[in-house]
Amino acid sequence: MRFLPHTDSDRDTMLEAIGMDVMSDLFADIPSEFHLEQDSLDLPDALSEAGIVRKFTQASEQNRHAGNTRCFLGGGTYHHFVPAVVDYVISRGEFLTAYTPYQPEISQGTLQTLFEFQTMIARLTGMDVSNASMYEAATATAEAALMARRITRKSKVVMAGSVNPRYRSVTQNYLSRLDGEYVEVATHDFSTDVDAIIASIDEDTACVIVQYPDFYGSVYDLAELRLACDAAKCLMVIAFSDASAFALIQSPGECGADIAVGSGQSLGIPMGFGGPHLGLLTCKQKYVRQMPGRVCGMTTDADGKRGFVLTLSTREQHIRREKATSNICSNQGLMCTAAATYMTLMGDEGLKTVATRSAAALHHLLSNLPKHVTAAQGARYNETVLSFVSEEKRSAFLVEARKRDMFAGIPLEQLDTKMASNHLLVSTTEMIEEADIQDYLVALEVAA
């Protein structure tokens, strides 16, 4: 077997050294009733390396993908451009095949990169600090709710109905086995009803969770909510799904968030059918000791040189066990390296270009919409809802779009079963060109 270095004679030599005759002696402590018979598992025969490549190539060719279509799908996952250098860096064996940096002297590469990642994420989100990743945005949102409960020692969580339904269902699920109330505030017109949210806050409220831009792409003013949170001594948590927005619009920090969580998938990570993506968790400095997950800090070594270590570990499961701030151990380390590389290549200028073009593409599309479809009103970043007169009309359009190799949007009821079936969630990025929008408009006309 090509991944196993031993020859049979190595095995014999080693067995002899430890005083054993045959391999099965090594498993004598397992009761014999559990020993599997050789070759008894119902698995296929081994594939050669060429066989694996063939199998995966064939499977991949059965899929349509953003490489051979035009992708107008968002809803938490976005088709942004990923420069070649990003994948090169995360393919380096020293990054790829390292464990969590438990031995800092020989893990300074991972650690300094994490420190740079944390710094850039803090700057992009306008927050004081970032941790070194959560799994993805939905679990990060749940962790933010738990963190707010610890900080405020209150238990009620108010969730805007305009938060991504997946973030809501995971958060609701996480909270459902713990004491405390969980309230979702209904939403209207594919935007966020700030007044209704404020009305749901009471003295037991630990935090309010809003998404910004919200699930429907709406960008709105959070000043009133910030004041209401101050008055009720609860935290304002901002969730987000496309971090690229904050190079263009007010950042969560500028909006006054206490905790901001969301997806960093847009920062150099392919869509990958749902993962691995990158969960981000940022907060104000004063809350760092209640953060979940790993975090990297600066220090000095025995010679006084600057270096980096994982720190504040007394919050974590390996020390605090059932009293830890979270159970998370393995996180999304390599995706932090990807995002750090991406942001370094982009800089402020590149990030702003990505965001501006993502928003400009949507604006261009919406400015030319035919009359039989309506778009949600108000400021939108790169995502909005198009409504058709009927499900049939929507279907006819989706068929026309597929003929033109376009994934034209996500049927809203697919993500949120309470929704009527005549809406499409549509998203644009800098990967959408003007010609793609022309084709989109043609498909709309043809299917009118």
């Binding site: 559990f34 996952t77 600090v129």
Partner: protein, 496 residues
Amino acid sequence: MSTAHTSNTYSAVGGIQHEEALLFEHAHEASEAISLPGVQGDISAELSAFSRQEPANIPGLSEPETVRHFVRMSQWNHGIETGFYPLGSCTMKYNPRVNEQVVRLSGLANIHPDQPMDSVQGVLALLYELQEWLCEIAGFSDVTLQPAAGAHGELTGLMMIRACLDARGQQHRKKVLVPDSAHGTNPASAALCGMYCVELKSGADGRIDLDELKKHLDDDVAALMMTNPNTVGAFESDVKEICQLVHDAGGLVYGDGANLNALVGMARPGDMGIDCLHINVHKTFSTPHGGGGPGAGPVVVNDTLAPYLPVPRIVKEGETYRIETQDEKSCGTVLGSIGQVGVLLRAHAYIAAFGKNHLHKIAQDAVLNANYVLHRLQDAYHVPFKGLCKHECLLTDEFQNKHGIKTLDVAKQLIDLGFHPMTIYFPLIVHGAMLIEPTETESKATLDSFCDAMLEIAEQCEAGDTQVLHDAPMKPIRRRLDETQAARKPVLVWSD
């Protein structure tokens, strides 16, 4: 057998190593921005009203500078491709390069998770086949691929156990029994699931003590979380009786499958009475650990727990696959997607490479290597629990303590000799733990060289030649780092 090597035969000899500033210190006047595609028109007036006020101040380096910066960073790291990495409980085995190649195919890497089902049949087929293989290898009837890592699998498994107990009208059962040798994620996951933990004191052999277990089995017990082989590297030979006792008391058994590498192809946890088990595919099935992640922690379940699996779930109808998102009995949704697909696909490729005829060789060579290392080191280091080990062996620093040397010093000296240290100070049930997991992908020559290094360190202690051990490491780009300083006044971001 060679034992008298001198240190200059080890691989760490220094070399071309560069200091490298933080990228913020490199920053200069922004170079021309990267060239990007897209629509160059205006944004809407409504959106303009929400413009960011202060620039983010992200430096932006040219492409050559970016590459050099991160390549230099990479050179400050030890990875499994660089050298031996015997971290106990972490299964740092070689990560096949072909797996990296195939998951990057555009038809796998660039799929949006909400594409129509007819456009994703290829990837669903690969994932579905993986589901079947995981069930077969571990001996269970169904599986969820959703959990993002082992700890997340623990939480998911406990959620299913909760749902099952609730369905039985046993809402009051909230006690989770966790051996004192268990990984910290076990109790942390139980707490997150609204349960409370009672720690089981391990027996004198490092295994679960049946009397201790019986003492805590009552009408409040929801589950026992057991790791088998456990974290001292020993197989829980009483597993069948343990599961029976817990079941008789009305509880369920959660299996922490972090150590499945010891069993693959040789024996199946599902046959032993365990109700569900998470599999760390970033350990057993060789997906790269990435300096912290991503991993994936699929949970396999038996018939008792299958009705409570989370949604979404991949189902097959005739020859087509689809994703089921609704199920009343389900314990709910635990992740915003179907799973860490790229990681799961690597695991698929890995299992495919072994197939039915070779899979057991993973466990065989892994266990052989651990016992070989144990055999070579057992006189020089204290072995707290005697006898056969499985995929990892546990030593302590008891002998070295007499000379003022601790596990930490041994670990740091190993660095100077060119090895990544073993897991240290875990499990918590012995003083000064050194948990060594060589894995099956290391050659005899590497194991011998590592053992030689360990023996040399033990000899240095005996000879009273200990200053070098206190000073170690001397060779890497940084020496021992001040963790107290880092925690006391945390500096988590750079300020210009």
